[in-house]
């Protein structure tokens, strides 16, 4: 059982590229890529907040407990 990051799925639904999301959120593409591939240990509320704002979604759409 673990937390799965579904950022790639939400981005695909919104047809948003990594560069566009990076410009919108102000988070570097490197960090977004790490987040997308699940190579991070923790996500700040502030990071989650800007991503949800740009993708117009809820935190639950991005993170999933499996």
């Amino acid at each position: 059982m673990e937390i799965i990051v579904r950022l790639d799925r939400v981005m695909a639904d919104r047809k948003m590229q990594l560069n566009t999301l990076s410009e919108c959120t102000g988070i570097s593409t490197v960090n977004l890529s790490k987040l997308k591939t699940g190579k991070v240990k923790a996500v700040r509320f502030s990071t989650l907040e800007v991503i949800c704002k740009c993708l117009e979604c809820q935190p639950g759409d991005i993170l999933e407990y499996e």
């Binding site: 987040l35 190579k39 240990k41 700040r44």
Partner: protein
């Protein structure tokens, strides 16, 4: 309360520390070679080549004056051979210089890592570990060389109160243990840094 960090001042401080360690390493390398030369010369010169007494020493400093005042005539006139002084002195000096050289070398590695903006890297932790064990080891080993030097002099000076004793350098051992504790704190810092880096 906000904590500020003057990065410019810190960088300048690190640069100065790097220069000092670099220059120190050069001087200590020369001193180490010099002490080895003294030791080797001591090995090959004849035992009766040069002998001297403390009373013949013409250094007119405070230490010399105090020697004259407090040491008996017997001690002042005891013959000391240059060979024994060169061998034991060269060995003691080489050991002490080697200790400081290794210490500076490890510090240089730490400063280089800080310069690369990786203060809590594995190289820093490893270097600090070595420094702590260097101090602990020196606390046991260096007094042996001091003992050899003093016993070599004591064997030539016929004074009952002038004797050589081996004693651990508790100061160095204590410093070693303090650094060992600091290494633990650094390891925790390294763990926190990894956590921070893996957080987006």
């Amino acid at each position: 309360m906000t904590h500020t960090f003057n990065q410019k001042r810190f960088k300048t401080l690190m640069r100065i520390a790097q220069i000092i360690t670099y220059v120190g390493l050069i001087f200590l390398s020369i001193a180490f070679v010099g002490s080895l030369v003294v030791f080797l010369v001591g090995l090959f010169i004849p035992a009766d080549l040069v002998t001297f007494t403390l009373s013949e020493m013409t250094i007119t400093n405070m230490f010399d004056m105090q020697l004259g005042m407090y040491l008996s005539e017997e001690v002042m006139n005891a013959e000391i051979t240059l060979k024994s002084l060169f061998i034991s002195g060269g060995l003691a000096m080489a050991a002490n210089v080697a200790f400081v050289w290794l210490l500076l070398f490890m510090l240089k590695r730490v400063f280089n890592e800080v310069d690369k903006e990786k203060p809590f890297s594995q190289i820093t932790i490893k270097s600090l570990y070595i420094i702590s064990f260097l101090f602990i080891g020196a606390g046991f080993v260096l007094p042996i060389f001091d003992f050899i030097l003093t016993s070599s002099l004591a064997s030539q000076i016929p004074a009952p109160h002038f004797d050589a004793n081996y004693g651990l350098d508790m100061g160095r051992i204590f410093v070693g243990f303090i650094i060992l504790i600091l290494v633990g704190i650094f390891q925790y810092g390294a763990f926190l840094e990894t956590e921070y880096e893996e957080t987006v």
